[in-house]
């Protein structure tokens, strides 16, 4: 199917330099796509969807009594990241994660950064993500965020900007691994031509990361994944990761704390657990410490953690560092702890709690993107240029009522990537979330989740709002290139 007539419409495009002309790194891929007929492409798209459906990574269509299930929409045309771009992203991410871990450790212990007036005290203490029970915690090896995913967008200038640091065990990695497995079957030739860096070793890295934080003296630690259960929307991923590591997948009813030691109930009695990769939010993890109404948590687990009898990944309390208002301080945080300039750039952000900045935001609601600081998934968001007067008025009221809860950013012209739409290939807006592990060192998986807004012109990539995903190919030979993808 010829891509000669592909239009970039003035946006930065992930595969095309200009109308019909691919980036040098993408030329080989475009050539292969060109060689496939329209029917062939559609057939491959269908096969990919069938494989994903069969794998069971599906969600129930809300309100559908017949139990109809759907997959997260998937587009077979991959997004490429050149080796030069990746090298820079990797450095930027490692720097951020390093600094943010020092920040969290400081905030819950000495609070030097507050005393030195780099971050205002009320920014911290007014955050819903600041957890008092975490004061004085010192997680094993000083690492708080073992698992994280950094959201990037690429703007019209081709530069990657950090949109969010997701430090609370973000989901999505199973899509990265599954999408890759599918695409290896759908476009095998393309893998042979381009040097695509592998992602399938994520499970090994995750296991090593978790083993690294096991209590001292545990050479063969018992590691488990803790899930809220099969009705959680990310359950597939929880099971998938347990399977990738070959460790038990526990629900809270499987765990019990006695004398500050966590045990799991097995067919041969109780067995001590050393490391828990928990996919339950901080507020729900221990009803004796956080939300008392939580039915998902394990009573007493926080005390076991404080005593060092069990390790949790991620540590509780990390939300303080990915609060959307704290985000604006990250460049200063990096400078403060590491004495370095930030490599990965922030999107300019207005803090509504600041009087001057709030006035600017209120005067420019039609141009800005407004976000609630503690919501994700594309909820609680106003996209100025696409909003009505009434919506703007509603947000103005919300901001005035609770300025600490909102930030605003200029509407970026997000980059686009060619996407199979109907009978043709059209540009659609994308973002990018690479996943990192912080064990002995910080490792970022060369790949990631590219989310794509499938609706024409839409900037919202969240799956709850009509978004899909793409496989992401990081090109080049990394140190970890062990053959095979």
């Amino acid at each position: 199917m010829s891509l000669e007539s592909y239009k970039t419409d003035g946006f930065f495009d992930e595969l095309f330099e200009s109308d019909g002309v691919p980036h040098a790194a993408a030329a080989a891929l475009i050539e292969q796509l060109d060689a496939l007929s329209r029917a062939d492409l559609k057939r491959r798209q269908k096969t990919a969807e069938d494989i994903l459906y069969q794998s069971g990574n599906t969600f129930n269509v809300y309100g559908d009594k017949k139990g109809t299930e759907k997959i997260l929409p998937f587009d077979i045309i991959p997004r490429l990241v050149s080796s030069t771009d990746w090298e820079r992203l990797e450095k930027g991410i490692a720097q951020r994660i390093h600094a943010l871990n020092l920040f969290i450790q400081d905030i819950y212990n000495d609070q030097k950064i507050i005393k030195d007036k780099v971050v205002p005290a009320d920014m911290i203490f007014s955050s819903a993500c600041y957890l008092k029970p975490c004061e004085g915690l010192k997680p094993p090896k000083g690492v708080w965020t073992h698992i994280s995913g950094t959201d990037f967008v690429r703007a019209g200038d081709g530069e990657f900007y950090v949109l969010e640091d997701n430090l609370r065990c973000p989901s999505g990695i199973s899509y990265v691994l599954e999408n890759r497995a599918v695409l290896k079957r759908i476009l095998p030739k393309a893998f042979q031509t381009l040097k695509v860096r592998p992602v399938s070793h994520y499970g090994d890295h995750l296991y090593k990361t978790l083993k690294h934080i096991a209590p001292d003296g545990k050479d063969d630690p018992v590691i488990v994944v803790l899930t809220p259960g099969i009705y959680n929307s990310a359950y597939f991923e929880h099971a998938y990761l347990a399977q990738q590591m070959g460790v038990p997948l526990c629900q809270n009813s499987d765990l019990i704390v006695e004398d500050n030691i966590v045990y799991m109930r097995t067919t041969r009695g109780l067995k001590q657990v050393d490391v828990i990769y928990r996919r339950i939010d901080d507020e729900f993890i221990d009803p004796t410490v956080f939300r008392k109404d939580s039915l998902l948590g394990v009573p007493g687990i926080m005390n076991a953690y404080r005593k060092g009898n069990v390790a949790l990944a991620n540590a509780p309390g990390t939300g303080i560092a990915d609060d959307k208002a704290i985000y604006t301080y990250v460049p200063k945080i990096i400078k403060y702890y590491l004495g370095e300039e930030a490599i990965a750039q922030n999107v300019p952000t207005y803090i509504c709690e600041d009087d001057k900045e709030r006035d600017y935001v209120l005067a420019n609601l039609d141009k800005l993107v407004v976000k609630a600081v503690n919501l994700s998934g594309g909820y609680g968001m106003l996209i100025g240029p696409k909003s009505t007067k009434a919506e703007q008025k509603e947000f103005a009221e919300k901001i005035k009522a609770a300025p600490r809860d909102y930030i605003a950013q200029p509407t970026l012209s997000l980059s686009r990537a060619p996407t199979l739409i109907g009978n043709g290939i059209e540009g659609r807006h994308v973002d990018f979330r690479p996943y990192s592990l912080y064990g002995e060192e910080i490792f970022t998986l060369p790949g990631g989740l590219t989310r794509v807004a499938l609706k024409k012109g839409s900037l919202v990539v969240n799956s709850s709002q009509g978004g899909g995903s793409k496989d992401t190919w990081v090109l080049g030979e990394g140190e970890d290139f062990g053959g095979g993808v």
Partner: protein, 312 residues
């Protein structure tokens, strides 16, 4: 060593799949029996399927007549019947979902596929329209067993799955014999007449037992078929075989236990009672009654398995 909840799920995943497969076998045997009897459409009997299922109360509450349409619906797609194929596959899938990190990925995918296939057929109401579907359900049972045999390590997970499958099979093989028992013979046909023997052949065929039976007994009659399906030490769907191997799976699990498990004692009682039973006295006092008693004992075993491993 495995999580108790996971052991419970893998046991039931396996039981429910075996259950679904056996319902498909029931429908198959009924169809063959009626074809062999030469019954016209009006004379076709569907009630034996309900009578043998043990769910006749549930059926009578919601259906007025036992015709093809309602029986097919009740046994195959009725969500309110906990033992319909749809309910069984749905539960097998829910259980598989909670143990997917420990079963081979192909096993999960097959169960998932079977569930979607069932949904896709769920508006059909005649055996003829569903013939391919029932075949598919039976084949899926074989595929499931094969994938487990070839890809699952022989640890506790395997033993729990195997035990669940065999206990379910023991119960259902007995009930399959019962279908023939409940079928009303048309006037002029006698027990042990040539017609009668043809029908027993159909029963054997529906559990893929015809060839194995012939090698042992050569000709078909009520007594021998009953003996074969109840007491064969060698045929893998007989009650005796199913229970002996379920007991073996259980003893493998218990071998690693710190204390003697009560389930082993219950299982011992059940296998012993089966070893002591004989065909003549069962026929004399009634096969149907024998099966009811047997099932009550089976429930005791199931209960003590629950208490020994899943409850803690």
């Amino acid at each position: 060593m495995m999580l108790s909840r996971v052991a419970n799920s893998i046991y039931w995943m396996s039981r429910y799949l075996e259950r679904a497969e056996n319902v498909a076998r029931f429908i198959d045997v009924n169809t063959h029996l009626m074809l062999d009897l030469g019954l016209s459409v009006e004379e076709t009997q569907w009630y034996p399927l309900i009578a043998t299922s043990g769910d006749d109360e549930g059926f009578k509450k919601r259906y007025s007549v036992a015709d093809e349409k309602s029986v097919v619906r009740f046994l195959t797609f009725d969500e309110k019947n906990p033992n319909s194929i749809l309910s069984s596959i749905f539960r097998a899938r829910e259980n598989a979902r909670t143990v997917r990190e420990i079963i081979p990925v192909e096993v999960w995918e097959k169960i998932n596929e079977l569930y979607h296939l069932t949904q896709a057929h769920s508006r059909k109401r005649s055996v003829e329209a569903l013939a391919d579907y029932y075949t598919e359900v039976r084949q899926s049972g074989n595929l499931f067993s094969g994938m487990m045999i070839n890809a699952m390590s022989r640890g506790d997970g395997w033993h729990f799955a195997r035990m669940g499958q065999l206990l379910e099979r023991a119960d259902k093989t007995a009930r399959l014999l019962d279908v023939k028992y409940f079928l009303l013979l048309p006037r002029g046909q006698q027990v042990d007449s040539p017609y009668d023997n043809v029908q027993w052949g159909a029963v054997l065929k529906s559990v893929n037992a015809l060839e194995m039976y012939r090698q042992e007994y050569h000709s078909i009659n009520y007594r021998d078929v009953t003996e074969f399906l109840l007491f064969s030490k060698l045929f893998p769907r007989s009650l005796r075989f199913s229970l002996d191997y379920a007991a073996l799976a259980l003893s493998n699990i218990c071998a690693e236990q710190p204390v003697t498990c009560p389930a082993l004692t219950e299982m011992g009682l059940l296998t012993q009672s089966l070893h002591q039973a004989d065909t003549e006295s069962i026929i004399a006092s009634g096969l149907h009654e024998f099966i009811d008693v047997f099932q009550a004992k089976l429930n005791l075993v199931d209960q003590s398995i629950y208490e020994s491993f899943f409850e803690n």
